[in-house]
Symmetry: C2
Subunit: 115 residues, 2 copies
């Protein structure tokens, strides 16, 4: 079922959370945010483009690091308020701290475990 961008339920800041998952390993890499413009750019470029909440600007992942995230699929959930991106990592680091995932450390341990 294909959907139109107009159907997406953005939050009060015009953003929607996007879960980024490696299409092969299934590892969850990062949780980022997209606005309508970044979704359109992602579709056009076939590379992940987010909205940086800290810098308040469009964030083409990999534009400075080379660690692009090539898009394999984009899907919305049943409530149309969350996105799942399946990606192919171009480099080794999807996370800005240099690890593949923002949820694990360099030894593949959970970065910040609660339990």
């Amino acid at each position: 079922m294909k959907i139109d961008l107009e159907q997406i339920k953005f939050n009060e800041n015009g953003l929607i959370p996007a879960i980024v998952q490696d299409h092969e390993t299934k590892e969850v890499l990062i949780l980022a945010y997209m606005n309508e413009e970044s979704i359109k750019m992602t579709i056009k470029l076939r590379q992940a483009v987010f909205w940086s909440r800290s810098r308040s600007e469009i964030w083409h992942k990999g534009a400075t690091s080379g660690d692009y995230l090539n898009i394999k699929s984009i899907a919305l959930d049943c409530d149309l308020d969350a996105i799942l991106l399946l990606v192919e990592m171009v480099g080794d680091a999807a996370c800005h701290n240099g690890t593949s995932s923002c949820f694990i450390d360099e030894n593949n341990n959970e970065l910040r475990a609660i339990i």
Copy 2:
């Protein structure tokens, strides 16, 4: 690295997004939200407890359906503003629409594909 709940960066509504992933299949099941109370209940019960934004109440997943999500691990990302829950599904449906995941339909196709 163990962290304290006080370190968690909740958003302006006192919530943090929680990615729920099956610990075996690695399938992303749902994106839900937690507040501090639901995190404490999750730790205590070892079952996923969220904050329902639509009902504005604590939501112990499975309390009515029996489809509990048993907790395998809880980890925060590097920015301390997103949670990854690894879970074991007790029933077949993690999503309220009856499918295992809120991102796929009953035929394991993406529910609402953009591309």
